[in-house]
Symmetry: D2
Subunit: 329 residues, 4 copies
C-alpha cells in the first residue's frame, strides 16, 4: 500500500482534474477543491480534459470566481476525455513531468477506478494524489457512494413517473433500459423507488419466463401497467421487450434512457458529498497524505487506500433487491 | 359535411371518452367537459377505455368530485384502448345502441383522427358528436395544436438540457430519437428550442453526408458537442448514429426517449386549451351542434367540420425549420 | 408614429441590450439576434446592463460562440439594470453618442415598455431601433405575449402542484401570491391551469366575503383543500390569509413565490418566440425599418409601432376568467 | 424504557396512520407497511386523519391495490390532522378502545415526536406500536434522517437555482425563508448545496452586521449576486431583508417558500428509506417488538427506544455549517 505521510506544507501547488465519464456533482467537487485550496492559501490549478489535457499541458490557475455559478450545473467545467496514451508508462512519466514543470506537487483526481490507476502511476513519480469517486454507476470498490449516483437515480425515477402516467392509461408493459454495464445499482434503487415490477441486473441471473409469469400474475390481479427496469449490462432491452410481448401477449414498449442519466442539475446529496470530498482532499494533501481515495461508508466520509479501491468489489444490496420484489407484488 | 343544428336543450345526456394514444392534458379536458356539463345542468357520463369500453358498456355518471385533483395528472383517468371491432359497421352500430340504451345523446370524443372516424360513424346513428384533438404528435388536420403537444415538446427539451451537460463535457455527438411517425412537429419545435444542430423529420428529405458535413464544420469551429434530433418516422436512430460515427469519426451516442414523451404533468398551455375545448364542446352540443372538431387556428379556438379534420394535412412550419438551421450554425 | 423606411443595407452594425426586469427566454432572444446578424453578415455588439451599461460604454463584439450554450439558461447574459440617468434627455443624448462612437446604427432593445421609451429617445437621435417585449408579467400593450410569460406561468403551476399535495393531506386553504403589479395575467393563467378556487387580480374588484363564501361552499361539499391565487397588485397575501382564517375558521397558509418566478430554464414556447423575434428584429433593421416593436397577435408574429405599444392596454381575458370560476366549482 | 418482546405471531392485525405535518415519502411508507403486512399474511387497516380519524373510527382494510400508484405522490393518502383531544388521557384511552374494538393490536405511527407521544400512550393500553419519523424538518431526536427531508432540501435547491438566474442578471441580494422552526437542517443543507453566501439557523446566533459585511466583501470582489438562506425559526425574513437593504444599500428581495416545501414527488432517498422503514416496522411488530422508533444512524436503519426519541436532540452538523461558510467565500 502506497501511503506517504509528510509534514504540513509539503504540497505547494495542487492540481485538479476530472477523468472518465462525467457525473453530476463534479462541478461542485471542483469548486470545493479550488475554494478550500484558496482558503488554505495554497496554489491551485485546473487541468482540462483529464489526462489527455495533462499531456497536452492544458492547465490554468483557478481563482474564487473561476468556480462561481457552477455548483448547480451538470457535467464538468474541466471537461473530461479518454486518453490511451496515459495507459502506457511513457505517457504516465510524461504526465508527471508536465506536473513537475508546472510546479504541481499534489493532484486531486475525480473519476472512476480507471482514473485512479493513472493517479497511482503519477504517485510513483513523486506526485501526491488523492482520488475522489465520481461516476453515476456507483460501481467503485471501497465506497458505498460515488458522486453523481443520487442524481442519476432521481433522473431515472422522473422518467419512471412519466412512463407510469401513460402506462396506466393503456394497460401496457414498459421496459426501461438504464445505465450500468457492470453494476445494477441504478436499476435497483430507481426500480425500488419507482415501484418497478421487475428489476434485472448483472449481479442476479434471471429467467425471462419468471419475469413473464410475474407480469401475468399482476395483470390477472388487475394491475393496469407494469414497469421492468433493465441495467444495460444485462443485455438488449429491445430484445427483451420482444420476448415479453411474444410470451405474454401484453403490449410492450421499450425506452432507452441513455445519456440523459449523466446530465441534469445535481441533487443536494451529490453536491454535499462532492463539497465535503473536495475540501477534504485538499486537507489530506496539505497533511502530507497521498495514495488515498475518499469514500462514504456507513454514512460517513472515509479514507481508503487507492489500491484497495482497485480491488474490492462493491456488491449489490441483496436485502434491498428482495425488498423491491416483495413491495411490487 | 355533416353538421346538424338544432334547438337548445336537444342534448339531454353527454358522454365523454378518450381514445387513441393518451396525451398530457386529457384529464384537464375531461374535467372541463364534466364540470361545464354540471354547470349547464345536463347529465354527464364517463365512458372508460374509449370505444372498447363503450362496446363493453363501461360507463359511469360523473359528479364534481369525480374529476377533482386530476387537472395536473398525465394520462387519462378514463383510460384508453384500441378497438378493432369498432372499425366495422356492426361494431359502430352496437356502440350507438349502447349509448342510446344509456340515454346518451351527445358524445365528446378526445383523441386523434382515427377516433374521429369512429365519432362520425356514431353520428350517422343519430348521436351528436364533438371531437377534441388530443395527441402529443400534433398531426391532426384542421388544427395548429393538439392537447399534449406542448408538454411533449417541453419533456424533450428537458432531455436535451440534460444531454447537453454531458455532451459538453465530452466532445460528443448525441442522436435523440423522438416521437412522430408521420409528422416532425415534436422534433422541429424541441430541436429549435433546444438548439439542436440538425433536425431530421419525415417531411424533409435529408442526406446523411450533409448532416455529417455540418457536424464537422461545427466541430472544426470548436463546438464542444452536437445534438441531432430525429423523428421516429425518419428511420432508426441507432442506425443513423452508427453511420455518423463511421463517417465523421466523432464519438456518437443514441437516446430513444420513447414513452417518456407521453407522460408528465401537463404544461399550462395544454391545460388551458384542454379546459377551453372541453367546456366549449359541451356548449356546442347544447347548442344543437354536431360533427365538429374543436381546433386552434391563429391562436384562437375554432370549430372545424370533422370530415375536414380527416383530410387536410397540417404541414410542417417551413419557416421555423429554416430558422432552426440558421440559428444553430 | 415614427417609422423610417430606408434601403437594405442601411444598418451596418447592430447593438443588442436587455433592459428592465429579466425574463426567461431573453438569452434565447439575444442568441437569435447575434446569430441572425452574423448569418446576414452584419456586425453585432452586445451592450451590458441595459442603458446603464450603454452610458458606461460596456459593449463588446459578439461572435457565434459568445451565445453558445445559453439558449436553455434563465436570466440574461447581457445582464440588466435600472438607469435613472437615461430617463433624462441629456442621458439619452449621451447614449446615442456612445452608440454612434461605436459605429452602432441599429439597436435591438429587449425589455418592457419603460425600456421602449428609452429606445424611442435614441431613435430621435438617428438610431434605428426595434423593440422586443420581454417581461414575465405579459403586461405590454400591443402584444398578446411577452418573452418569459410562459415560463413564469409554468413555474407557478409547479408550485401549485406541490402545495396541492400537502393541502389535500391537511384540509387546508392556501393563499399563493404571484407576480403582477399592474396585471393579473400570471395569476389568471396559472390559476385556471392549476384549478385554483379563487383568482384575485388587479383588473377585477373582489369582495373577501364572496371569496370566503365560495371557500365554505367547497368545504361543505367535501373539498379537501382550496387554493387562492393572488396577484401582488391586489394587496398583501399575508393580510388576506389572516382575514380568510378569521372569517371562515379554516386553517390558512400563505406562500409568496417572489423571484422564483423570474428564473428557471425557459419553456419551449418562450424559446421559440424569443428566437423568432430576435431573428426578425435583425431582418427589420436590415430592411431599413425602425420604431417598431415585435409582438404576437392571434398566434402570429406582428410588427407594432412602438408608440402604440406605449399606450394601448392589453386587458385581462375576461372569458378565461369566467371559465376559471366555472371549472373550479 | 417500554419495550415488550413476545413471540412471533403476537400481532394479528396491524393499523397504520400518518400524523402531524405531512411529508413527501409518507405514501411510499404506507405502501410498504401495507404490502409487507400482506406478504406476511397479517391483516392490515389504514386509519384516516391520524389520531383524529382514530377517535372518529375512520378505518378501512387495505389490500394490495389500495396502495397502488401512490409511491410517487407527495402528501399522504391516509391524510393527517391535529387532534387536541388525543393529548388528554381520556382521548388516548378512547383511541385504544377504538383499536381494540377493530381488533387492531399493532400500530405503525408515521409522524413527528408529538405523534410518538400519542403512540406511547396507546402502548400503555396494550397496543404494540412502532414509530417511523416522518417530517421534512429532520428535527426528531434519535435519528439522522426523517422521511421527507431529502425532498424538501431538493425543493429548496430548485428554488435557489431559479432565483440565482435572476439574481445574476440584476446584481441583487436575495433572502429566502425556508421551513425549520426549531431546527436549521433544511436551511443548512440546501444553503450548502446551493452555494448560499449566508445561512441563518436557530442553532447559531448571528449578527446582521456580520452578514452585511460578508455581503459587501463579496460585492466588492465582483460577485453578481448573493443568496441568504433563513430558517423560519430565526425570525422574519421580510424584516431581515429590510435591514440588509438599509445597511448595505444593495437591492434586496425576499421569498417565502412556505408550503411548497412540503409537497412534490418524493426523491429516491425518501422513497427508499420510507420503504425500508415501513416494511421493517411490520417485521418488528410480528417479532413482538413495541415501543421502538425506526431511525437512520451512520447510513443504516436502526431501532431506537421511543422514549429516547422524545428526549435526545439531533443537533446541527457544525462541520457542514463551517464548510458552507468556507466554500461560499
Amino acid at each position: 500500500m502506497l501511503v506517504f505521510t509528510g509534514g504540513i506544507g509539503l504540497v505547494q501547488h495542487i492540481g485538479v482534474l476530472t477523468s472518465g465519464g462525467d457525473a453530476p456533482g463534479m462541478n461542485a467537487c471542483v469548486r470545493a477543491v479550488v475554494r478550500m485550496a484558496i482558503y488554505r492559501k495554497v496554489k491551485i490549478s485546473g487541468i482540462m480534459r483529464g489526462y489527455a489535457g495533462l499531456l497536452a499541458g492544458e492547465m490554468k490557475p483557478m481563482d474564487l470566481g473561476s468556480v462561481g455559478d457552477i455548483i448547480h450545473r451538470g457535467g464538468t467545467l474541466l471537461r473530461t476525455a479518454r486518453c490511451k496514451e496515459f495507459y502506457e508508462p511513457e505517457g504516465q512519466e510524461r504526465g508527471a513531468r508536465r506536473l513537475q514543470e508546472a510546479g504541481i506537487d499534489g493532484l486531486v483526481v475525480i473519476g472512476g477506478d480507471g482514473s485512479f490507476r493513472g493517479a497511482q502511476a503519477l504517485m510513483r513519480h513523486g506526485i501526491s494524489v488523492i482520488g475522489i469517486p465520481g461516476t453515476i454507476d456507483n460501481d467503485i470498490p471501497g465506497t458505498d457512494y460515488t458522486i453523481g449516483f443520487d442524481t442519476a437515480v432521481n433522473t431515472v425515477l422522473d422518467a419512471i413517473n412519466k412512463i407510469r402516467d401513460t402506462a396506466t392509461s393503456h394497460d401496457r408493459t414498459n421496459v426501461i433500459e438504464v445505465m450500468g454495464r457492470r453494476a445494477g445499482h441504478i436499476a435497483l434503487l430507481s426500480g425500488l423507488a419507482g415501484g418497478a415490477e421487475s428489476i434485472l441486473v448483472p449481479e442476479v441471473p434471471f429467467d425471462v419466463d419468471v419475469v413473464c409469469a410475474r407480469l401475468m400474475r399482476g395483470h390477472n390481479r388487475g394491475k393496469l401497467h407494469s414497469i421492468i427496469l433493465v441495467a444495460e449490462g444485462v443485455g438488449s432491452a429491445v430484445e427483451l421487450g420482444k420476448q415479453i410481448e411474444q410470451k405474454t401477449g401484453l403490449e410492450t414498449r421499450v425506452t432507452i434512457l441513455g445519456h440523459i442519466q449523466r446530465g441534469g442539475s445535481p441533487t443536494a446529496t451529490d453536491r454535499i458529498w462532492a463539497s465535503q470530498m473536495g475540501s477534504r482532499a485538499v486537507d489530506l494533501l496539505l497533511a502530507g497524505k497521498s495514495g488515498l481515495m475518499l469514500g462514504v461508508r456507513r454514512g460517513e466520509l472515509v479514507e481508503v487506500a487507492l489500491d484497495k479501491a482497485m480491488t474490492e468489489r462493491h456488491g449489490l444490496d441483496q436485502e434491498l433487491y428482495q425488498l423491491a420484489g416483495i413491495l411490487s407484488i
